[in-house]
């Protein structure tokens, strides 16, 4: 699945042995942005990881689209909280180090 910028949806579906309708549903739920160029549908390479994850959630774990939407939202939230937590820990360690100097 290598592409410089855009991934053709048809290639993606063949590679993963999935129906195009699944990707179309992801688009309806706002989980992937599809671009159509000369009647061929594409999504950007930056979305590839996420779309592959949605495929796994649906086909391996039988999670429906409503579930995938909720999971995507919560994972995104979790990622932000983890990043914030890291930033705060780094700030805290600065003060802890200073306290240790005295």
């Amino acid at each position: 699945m290598e592409s410089n910028e855009l991934v053709p949806v048809s290639n993606f579906c063949i590679y993963h042995k999935i129906e195009f309708s699944f990707i179309a549903s992801l688009q309806q739920y706002g989980l992937v942005d599809i671009t159509t160029i000369e009647q061929e549908d594409y999504f950007s390479e930056v979305q590839l990881d996420a779309v592959e994850k949605f495929v796994r959630l649906h086909y391996e774990l039988d999670i429906n689209l409503e579930g995938i939407e909720a999971i995507a939202h919560l994972l995104d939230k979790m990622k932000h909280i983890q990043a914030r937590n890291t930033r705060l820990q780094n700030r805290l360690s600065r003060y802890e180090n200073e306290t240790g100097d005295y």
Binding site: R56, L61, I63, K79, T86, Q89, N97, E98
Partner: protein, 296 residues
Amino acid sequence: MAFIDYYEALGISKNASPDDIKKAYRKLARKHHPDLNPNDKEAHKKFQQINEANEVLSDPDKKKKYDQYGKDWQHADQFEQAKQQSGRSQHSYAGGQGGAGFEEDDFSSFFSSMFGDGGGRGRQAKYKGQDYNAELKLGLRDAYTTQQQTLTVNGKNVRITIPAGVENGQVIKLKGYGAPGVNGGPAGDLYITFIINTDAKMKRTGNDLFMDTEIDLYAAVLGGETTIETMSGKLKLKINPGTQNGTQVRLKSKGFPVYKKEGQFGDLYVIFTVKLPVNLTEQQKELFNQLAALNK
């Protein structure tokens, strides 16, 4: 790796029906799936185990052998042959608890012997390989510039570029550098967590840097100049007359580079620490006394 009791892994009894096995697997897979537990090593390990358990218990032929020989399943055919040759038939093995005896691996050797050669009947689900996690330690000064580093992960050399400004605890993902997939599934990913060591002179908060610099009493009172060592080189700094101890001076864009934003930097905060003179000579004492008298 220690023997895995597949029934225990799925939380089912030995009498569980194929439907029970499927249900138990689905329930646990949803709980421990790597996509739902990013950066959670325990969940990944658990997922591999339940995956392995499902692959065995959902196949009637493998299940039968597992039930009969337990941890010695891989030698089932040899046992059968021996039984036929010796005429003994009582020697059976209960599945379940058991000791080690398998090779050190993330999977039990059961799994590799059964699925490593692509054997087995029926449809086998493809699964993404296990994700690997690694830590990379860098000094604060290393993180200031973009670095090229080569890591060895499971015998494979991985060359990575670490952009300047990477933060302590930040994780980057290298797609496809994890364990190979199961049954032709995609390889897992490699997650690298950066550990940025603290620096004796500089403290970092986000993209801003903080440093203490000592100035003598005379420069603090009368004003003057001092030279400081920033990350990008030496810098002359003006000291205003009457500078108090703890005064903070902000040097715009002299801090840490902003991650993946070329040419953008945080600020550098220089905190002045006024060093009081000690071991005064008689003459100095006299002059300080005069100053003190003037302030009365």
